[in-house]
Every structure is written in C-alpha cells, then in structure tokens.
C-alpha cells in the first residue's frame, strides 16, 4: 500500500514536472514566482500580516515542507523560532540545511546592526544582525538572481528561462528604484520613531533618521516609563513621524501620536501585510506613499 502511494506520488511529480518550493515569507514567494514562472509550484509558510518572528509550526506546515524540493528562507535568525521543528519533522532529506534544496537568502545580504555585545538582558536580539533586509527594495534583484542560480542548479533544463526572467525583473526593477529614489529624495533626514527595528534597511536606504523604538527592548512590550521618555524626546527633537507595524498593538503609537502631534503610519513590512501591498512592487509603493503623503 505504502509503495503504491509512493509510486503514485512520484508519478504525479513527473507528470507535473514542477519544482515544489516552500518559502518562509510572501516576498520570497513573489520573487520566486517572478523567476520560476510556470515551472515552479510555491507554498508560502508564513502570512504577510503576522509577526514574522512568531509563526506557529502547525503540522500542516510540516506537510508542506515535507513535499518541497527546495526550501527558501529569509535567514539571519528570523525563522529561528519556528523553522527548525518544521525541517526536523518533515523527514525530508532534500531540504536539509547544507543541501542544494536549502537556500538562505541572508547570505547574499550585508546585514546591518550586528550587535557587538550579545545578551538577552538587551531583549530578544538577533546575534547576526538585523534580519529585516526585505524592506530595502535594492536587495530584490540580488535575491532574484540568487534564486535563479539555485533553480538552474535544480532544473538545468529551464536554465535559460530562469536567467531571462531574472534579467527582465532586474531591468524592470531598476525603473522602480529610480522612481522611488526620486520620490524619497526630498524626505532625506526625516526623523521618525518605529515600533521594532523592522524598517532599518528602508530607513538607511532613503537616509531617514530613526530616533527610537516604541518597544523598550527587542521583543519586549512597551512600558509607560519608556513611552513617556519617548514623548519627551520626540518633542525636544521635533520628530513628526511614527512607523507602526501591522502585527503589534497600535495603542502606544496612538497615544504618542496624540501627545506629540506626530503622524502615525501603518507600514507594511512584507507582501500582503496590508491589503494594498499585494505585489512586491506595490509593497514599496505603499510604504513610500504612506510616508510621503501628508
């Protein structure tokens, strides 16, 4: 019975001739679809509007990792709280770290904010640096090419297609980058407050200035003392912008906005984090629109 099932599964795979790819977050799914086109079948494990650090390792996700030929992750510790049990329980030899079926995109990125002292007294920190590089649109062509390289390795037959798709994306993306640069240029030097250090790469790219975080320490909920200090500091430094993410309670941001008169912006950090940001391009469009519109 088992053999028959296995044979059927193998047969259906051959017939479809698609590469089954499991990816951790929606932006990776968007990139992989752009590069892989019709030859790939993509499953996204996390939802765009939930906290990327805390994904529930549901058994249904084990199933999805189990049938993958390739697993693509953000890396830099972002999935440390939920991916290891999925890989361990998937009983899938093809996607184990170190095999060609495992791709960690963070290795193509220069990580920011690597802590010099690592202690949990400083909160739930990422020892390798800030893993939220996806908020910088400049990384997308680099990642698309990295994904293309891996797809070529797994499916040499469609190599030209993957290369062409990545090249086309790079070209089209260049136009977007130029457009976004132009819109963001007048906003260089804008001081802002964010909830978690989620948008550091975006902030750095467009020369904005982050003056602080609503959470007192990474992964620790706001405290009233810290909030009062922030309000005081924002008044002194005339900070007029607050970036609130979609998965933390906006209660504290509302309060600070009310006390300081700053503009509170609900910022998507990933594709599908907000309704409007349903493609990769629209993700950055939405981020930029929400910051720049009065």
């Amino acid at each position: 019975m088992k053999k028959i099932l296995l044979a059927l599964l193998a047969l259906s795979n051959i017939l479809m001739a698609e590469i089954n790819i499991a990816v951790s977050y929606p932006f990776i799914a968007a990139l992989t679809k752009t590069v892989g086109g019709e030859n790939v079948n993509i499953t996204t494990l996390a939802k765009g509007n939930w906290d990327p650090h805390f994904v529930v390792p549901r058994p249904s996700l084990i199933r999805q990792v189990a049938q993958a030929d390739l697993l693509i992750i953000n890396g830099a510790g972002l999935e440390i709280g939920w991916m290891p049990p999925l890989i361990r329980q998937s009983n899938n030899a093809h996607i184990q770290p170190g095999t060609k079926g495992f791709l960690d995109l963070s290795q193509f990125v220069t990580l920011m904010n690597k802590p010099t002292a690592v202690s949990r007294a400083n909160g739930d920190i990422h020892p390798d640096g800030n893993p939220h590089y996806a908020t910088d649109p400049y990384y997308m062509p680099i990642l698309a090419n990295a994904i293309a390289d891996r797809l070529v390795l797994l499916d040499a037959e469609h190599a030209a297609e993957y290369r062409n798709n990545a090249a086309a994306f790079e070209k089209q993306w260049q136009a977007n980058l130029t457009r976004w640069d132009a819109v963001m240029k007048p906003f260089a030097g804008t001081k802002l407050l964010q909830y978690h250090e989620l948008f550091n790469y975006f902030i750095n790219r467009y020369a904005l200035v982050s003056v602080g975080n609503i959470e007192p320490l990474p992964g620790i909920n706001p405290s009233s003392r810290h909030t009062l200090e922030l309000i005081q500091m924002m008044k002194e430094q005339e900070v007029k912008l607050i970036l609130q993410d979609v998965y933390h309670s906006p209660k504290t941001a509302h309060y600070i906005a009310e006390k300081t008169g700053a503009k509170e912006v609900l910022m998507p950090h990933d594709v599908d984090a907000v309704h409007e940001a349903d493609t990769l391009e629209k993700l950055y469009d939405t981020m930029i629109k929400r910051i720049t519109l009065p």
Binding site: D51, V56, P59, S60, R63, G81, P84, N91, G123, D124
Partner: protein, 395 residues
C-alpha cells in the same frame, strides 16, 4: 631545506627585529566553533497544600501508592524541580544528537539521550537512544512545555510522571497525503515502575517464581492527523502501548495495554493570541495473574483530562483543566468518578521567563486509612527560566 638553514641563521636577527615571524596567529586547533547548542532551564516552585506531606504518602490513586507518583512540586514549601541541561548538535551528514539532563537535589538523571536521522528516504525518520515516546499528546513534551505545573492524573497513574521514557528505537513515517498524517512505531526496554514493570522475582507469599520477559518488552504505535480550518489547527491522534507487567510490588504477572486518543483544537486570533482546547482519554487493560493466589487479576481503568487555555497576548495566559479517573474495575464501585479541577494564570515577562500561579481542588486521591476520597487543595507558584540556545518548540 636551504630556506630553513638560512632562516635559522637569521633567526636571532629576526627575533630582535620582528619576534612574530613564527608566531601562530591562527587558532590551528581551536574547536570552539563546534560547541553544540546548550541550554539551561531551571524550574522551581512554592507549594501550599491543605494536607501535610506525610499524609500524601497515605493516599492512593487508581489503586497505586502516591509516593511513587510525585516528581514535581513534591514538598510543601520550596521545591527545586530541576535544572535541565540540554545539548543539541549535528553529528555528521546523517545524524543529530540530543542530550537532556535533569539535575536535582538527588543527583543527575539522563532524561533523554538520542540520535535522530536527517536524511532517510521515503519520508522516514529513525530515532534511537533513551527518549520520550510520542505516545499521546503530553508524553513527549518536557514539563516546561506543559500548560500546567503538573501532569494530568491519568498520566501520573498510567504512565508515571516520568512518562514512557526508556531506551529504545523509534521509526516515524510521514504519509504523502494532502493533510498531515504521521505514523510511528517504537520498541522500548520496559521500565522499573509504572504500568510496564518488568522484574524477575519470587512472590513472598506463594513462592511463585516470575521471570522477566525477554527485553525489549514494550511496543508502542500511534497515528496522528492534522489539518487546518481557517486559523485553527486540529490535531488528533490514536496511540497504543503494549508490554509485559511483572511487578513484585503489585504481585502481578501478565501484560498491560494502554490505549489513548487525543484531540487538540488551537485557534490563533493573531500572532500572539490563541484559544486552545486539548483533551485525552486513556484506557489501561491489565491481563494476568495475582502472584499470591495465581488467580486471574485482570482489570480495566479509564481516565481523561480536558483543558482550555487562552493566551491573551505574549505576556498573559490563563487555563482551566478538568481531569478524572472515571472507571476502575478494581474498586467496589467501578464507575465512581474521581476528579480534580485546576486553574492557572501565567505572566511571561519575555520568551525566556515564566511565572505561573496554579490552584487545584482534588478529590481523586483515596485515603488508605479511612477508605474515603480526600479533599486536597494545592496552590503552586512556579518560576521557569531559560538561558542559552532556545530551541523552537514543536506544535
């Protein structure tokens, strides 16, 4: 060779000029990068009970003495339940290795020490060593993962607080179904206490000799299924464990089978807040002879628990548990229900620390002297802290 001679000739010169030409700045034999993931978890509690500790030894649960059935929060007053040291790393391209050690005031216990394969074909996984069986839902979880400070009555009575945790092998298979389906079989060395005692002894009364069954004598199998409905995950499992029971203490020579059914429904409202409902029913069938009398002494017992846990956010959780032994064929009234009600509330300052208050009203323990079920109220304040690598928890 020439170079060396030349070098040695100039050595005094070089030393005075630049003493470092042969100083080795690379750590040629440094292996610190291979240090496994290390974690230390410390669990302690303050306990206030409505009966004395000495009285607790006077009670039985489902026909077994309670003195055997205490592992955590044993003493009134302060308890260091354990300091759990765990190590985990890849062995090579084929295996990972896990070691979990419980340090307590009595010494060190190897809680678990097992290898797991990572690259078996056909969605198979092999585990070997001493490990917690995946029987049921709670058995394989460590105490610090439980939603309450103690195990349900039915676990304590049928599986012992240590649970099914013996040397053995496990083979698990993930079925290629659209939903999650996992089947597993285990073979284990049966233990020195609990349902699957396996001892060679001579009965003191009848002088009957009982020979321990050829080991391994414990066989376990289970099937688990899971699927999602919107933001809710449903997980249900069926388990069975069968093994020899040769117990001097219970004067029993035979075999025991334990059947289990478990169901978990967990609905997430957002990344942090959820409501979960978890229940298990266990049945123990013991078949064999009383070694005193050589008369058949078969018996059947059933127990269950059901618990509701609500996580308000990352910091606050609260839960309610009902647990019971509801059938025991050895009692004069087999269907007399023996219950316990437990309520708990938790504050988690971060992912790495937890403070839990738990109150239980228990009418399940039988007082040996009076023959009556005893009212016991227990308050537990438990603190659990973790340092080092923090392994992600399975679902």
């Amino acid at each position: 060779m020439k170079k060396i001679i030349l070098g040695s000739m100039f050595l005094p010169l070089l030393l005075s000029a630049e003493s470092s030409s042969y100083t080795n700045y690379s750590s040629s034999f440094n292996q610190s990068a291979f240090v496994p993931d290390i974690a230390l978890i410390v669990d302690g509690s303050y306990v206030n009970r409505s009966v004395t500790d000495a009285d607790m030894d006077n009670y039985t649960l489902a026909g077994s003495s309670l003195s055997d059935y205490n592992e955590f929060n044993t003493n009134s007053g302060f308890n260091l339940n354990y300091a759990e040291l765990s190590l985990h790393s890849d062995v090579d391209q084929l295996f990972t290795l896990d070691g979990v050690f419980h340090f307590n005031v009595e010494g060190v216990e190897i809680e678990e020490a097992y290898f797991t394969t990572t690259s078996m074909p056909y969605s198979l996984q092999l585990k070997g060593g001493k490990f917690k069986s995946s029987f049921g839902r709670l058995n394989k979880q460590h105490q610090h993962v439980w939603d309450f400070a103690d195990a349900p009555l039915v676990y304590n009575a049928f599986l012992t607080p240590e649970g099914l945790n013996h040397p053995g092998v496990q083979l698990q298979w993930l079925a290629p179904t659209p939903w999650y389906m996992m089947a597993g079989v285990e073979m284990m060395q049966s233990g020195e206490e609990g349902s699957f005692v396996n001892q060679t002894f001579t009965d003191a009364t009848s002088s009957k000799e009982v020979v321990a069954s050829n080991e391994p004598a414990l066989y376990i199998g289970y099937l688990k299924n899971s699927f999602d409905i919107a933001n809710a995950s449903v997980l249900f499992g069926l388990s069975a464990a069968h093994g020899a029971t040769k117990s001097e203490e219970a004067s029993f020579d035979g075999a025991t089978t334990i059947y289990g059914a478990d169901l978990l429904v967990k609905n997430y409202f957002d990344s942090y807040s959820y409501l979960s409902w978890q229940s298990e029913v266990l049945q123990r069938d013991a078949k064999g002879d009383d070694t005193n009398t050589s008369i058949s002494a078969d018996y059947t017992q059933r127990g269950a628990y059901s618990q509701l846990v609500y996580a308000y956010d990352q910091n606050w959780r609260t839960g309610l548990r009902f647990d019971t032994i509801f059938h025991d064929s050895r009692q004069s009234d087999p269907n007399e229900i023996q219950n316990r009600y437990t309520v708990m509330a938790e504050y988690n300052p971060s992912e790495f620390s937890r403070i839990r208050a738990q109150y239980a009203h228990n009418r399940a323990f039988n007082n040996v002297t009076t023959g009556e079920n005893q009212d016991i109220n227990t308050f537990i304040l438990e603190v659990n802290l973790a340092i080092g690598s923090h392994g992600a928890h399975s679902f």
